[in-house]
Symmetry: C2
Subunit: 418 residues, 2 copies
């Protein structure tokens, strides 16, 4: 049966209730939402997710890194590659309730809606919840999707040591989510991830749907500047090697360059410390982080190179020693243009405002994009706030996003290989 | 008897040995020198000091805030105001051995040398060791001399609560150094403080003696900048209120202004912290300290005003809220020109290179300067390093400084009121 988006829409109450229910699982004594990967709280969240998958008559499969898949088999099971929709349900410490969970629960909601409408998919539809997307307890983040896409071995992932000294492999065994299936066992025909924007663009522009065409490359560095600690009162300016001042020059340089850049480069210094950190002592050491992002790999490399050149000049000019350490590096990801068009067409059909945009944050979609055509759908985040209990997306926006996902999945699951 | 500097000089071995011995008192388990005011270690240091004062036949008097005075009464005791020489023997945590102690021990050395030379002073000579100059355990610093000069009441000083929750008054009682004499009981005819420079100027210029003509005013502020925490990847530069970037602008502003200032203004940002201090979150808050110093009160006020105006503009430009909190403020002190000339003449007589200079650090002399003519003598600090075990002044420089002090005290103690 062909899918007609004009006559069906998702069950808003059911979706919103599940988001609310999942958001109550993993509250700590201070009522903070803390559902770190493979923790007891994560187990309870996973159990709830599995129960909802079963309610939707999905076949539940867990792979070796704990990724959970809810599979709606197509009636004509003839090896058609599935449509995968997914995200993650692990959270940061003191999280909001939407990040990740919204995408996973919307996937189940879409399937249940299609089932009720009597839709007959031409290929399986799979809802995925990837392990340890946040990377708070285990490194790296986006681990489950990275392993699924073949970017990290199962062994290395399971040997990951948590901030609490635990081993991911042992923790997955302990909570009952160490599956036996190899990650990558289903190679999707397409992957679509619905997510809150976690940025301010859609809200500021009054737009309801983001058709995410690409995802920024990320360059994380830790920079250490070493100067000389001297007395703040007795050391003339001309005799100083002030690591703190040198750090301030880097922060200003990064900002000024990003502001004047013709590309959508962003640069952020989020962490800093001075040593000895005394009011009357010139800092002997400044340690800070640099987060550089650009959707174009060439531009991102140019930003890294410009920073490197600036640091070289600065070290000479200020008499300081500067060392940099790479903490993370992801190349930009370009999503599938066809799926992005399908997202735009779906928003159009629903009478929703939309725009193409870049994801500034990392998502499981960037990993899965390595093994199949992929794209993302964003809904507005009020104030751009995320990773915080004040993370908020209005109910109409949540419902609109899920209906766009419904439309997109319905369309993709109607296609068959030639 | 008139004093002839050409025939006497201090006993270098005795002075250096005492500096060494006092520097061994108060070593912690890691061999760090930690002799915080009114601690057990301070008691042991005080006991050693008193024993050396008694060796020099000085009358030892302790006042109500624990200041220790070793008095060499003039034979013709007729109410002539004394010459006071002094400094402090309390230390910071992990201190060097010269800061303060050098001045106090040189005072005793000068008296013993004068005694041995048969010098008959026309007025008493007093060596003072002031309580809690460093201000590490109790606030404010330079407390003993401040009380002595009438700038703080005895009651308020003794009620000072230490970083360890202790009361200074109780601690002085406990270690046996709560005296009964009112601070200020001796009003000096003149005060001279010999001290290591704690800055790099004398060493860099190859000069042996600093004749300290004035002492910088100090302005300490804590600045808090409040922006908005947002995702480092998803928030376009134009939509940011980045407290960390704003802080970097302040640090650069202060430095650029000090560099281009025609006055010897120095500005230092020694402490900083960002919140939430996460690599991928734009700082919502930056808290940092500003240490501004200038030997001219008018200039110091101008620097404070310029900073204030910059902050106002910055807050508007960056969409951040900026609050400032005054932590400390001392006006500059001008020392007595006549004593400064006597110091220069003494250096000249000893064939030592010398220069007039400004003290960038605070010293007990700035307090005592409120009640009598005062000045200071500096000797070189290698690398300008102080408050650190690497604090170092060569033995010849230490001896030269003490001999200049000997000359100055001999001269001043030969004067009688008209």
């Amino acid at each position: 049966m062909a899918y007609d988006s004009s006559i069906v829409s998702i069950d808003a109450a059911r979706l919103l209730t599940r988001i609310e229910q999942l958001g109550q699982i993993g509250r700590d004594k201070e009522d903070r939402l803390v559902r770190l990967a493979a923790s007891d709280a994560d187990k309870r969240g996973r159990d709830a997710l599995v129960s909802w998958m079963k309610e939707a008559n999905l076949e539940v499969v867990v792979d070796k890194v704990g990724n959970i898949f809810g599979i709606w088999r197509a009636p004509s099971e003839d090896d058609q590659a599935p449509i995968m929709v997914g995200s993650h349900i692990d959270t940061v410490i003191n999280a909001g309730v939407y990040d990740g969970c919204y995408g996973v629960l919307s996937g189940i909601e879409v399937i249940q809606t299609l089932q009720k409408a009597g839709f007959v998919p031409s290929r399986p539809i799979v809802v995925a919840a990837f392990t340890n997307e946040e990377g708070v307890r285990y490194t790296p983040d986006m681990m489950g999707s990275l392993v699924y896409a073949g970017g990290l071995s199962v062994e290395d992932a399971l040997a990951s040591v948590g901030t609490d000294g635990s081993l991911l492999g042992e923790e997955l065994e302990r909570i009952g989510y160490a599956g036996s299936v190899e990650p990558g066992f289903l190679k999707p025909h397409a992957y679509v991830e619905l997510h809150i924007e976690q940025g301010p663009v859609l809200e500021r522009e009054g737009i309801q749907i983001g058709a995410v065409k690409n995802l920024q490359g990320i360059s994380w560095q830790r920079i250490t500047i070493e100067g000389v600690a001297n007395h703040a009162g007795t050391t003339p300016i001309s005799m100083r090697s002030d690591a703190g001042y040198a750090a301030s020059r880097v922060i200003s340089f990064l900002r000024d360059r990003a502001t004047s850049s013709p590309t959508p480069t962003v640069a952020t210094v989020g962490c800093i410390s001075f040593e000895p950190n005394a009011i009357n002592v010139i800092p002997s050491r400044a340690i800070f982080t640099v987060d550089l992002r650009d959707p174009n790999e060439h531009s991102l490399q140019a930003e890294e190179a410009a920073l490197g050149a600036f640091l070289t000049d600065l070290a000479a000019a200020e008499g300081v020693k500067i060392t940099t350490e790479r903490m993370a590096r992801f190349e930009p990801v370009t999503f599938d243009a066809t799926i992005v068009e399908i997202v735009e067409a779906a928003a159009e059909r629903h009478g929703l405002s939309y725009r193409r945009m870049t994801s500034g944050a990392g998502h499981d979609a960037q990993m899965i994009a390595h093994i199949c055509p992929a794209a993302m759908i964003f809904v507005p985040s009020i104030g751009g706030i995320s990773h915080n209990p004040r993370e908020f997306t209005s109910e109409p926006d949540l419902v609109a996003g899920a209906n766009v996902l419904l439309d997109v999945i319905g369309k993709l699951a109607s296609e068959r290989e030639k």
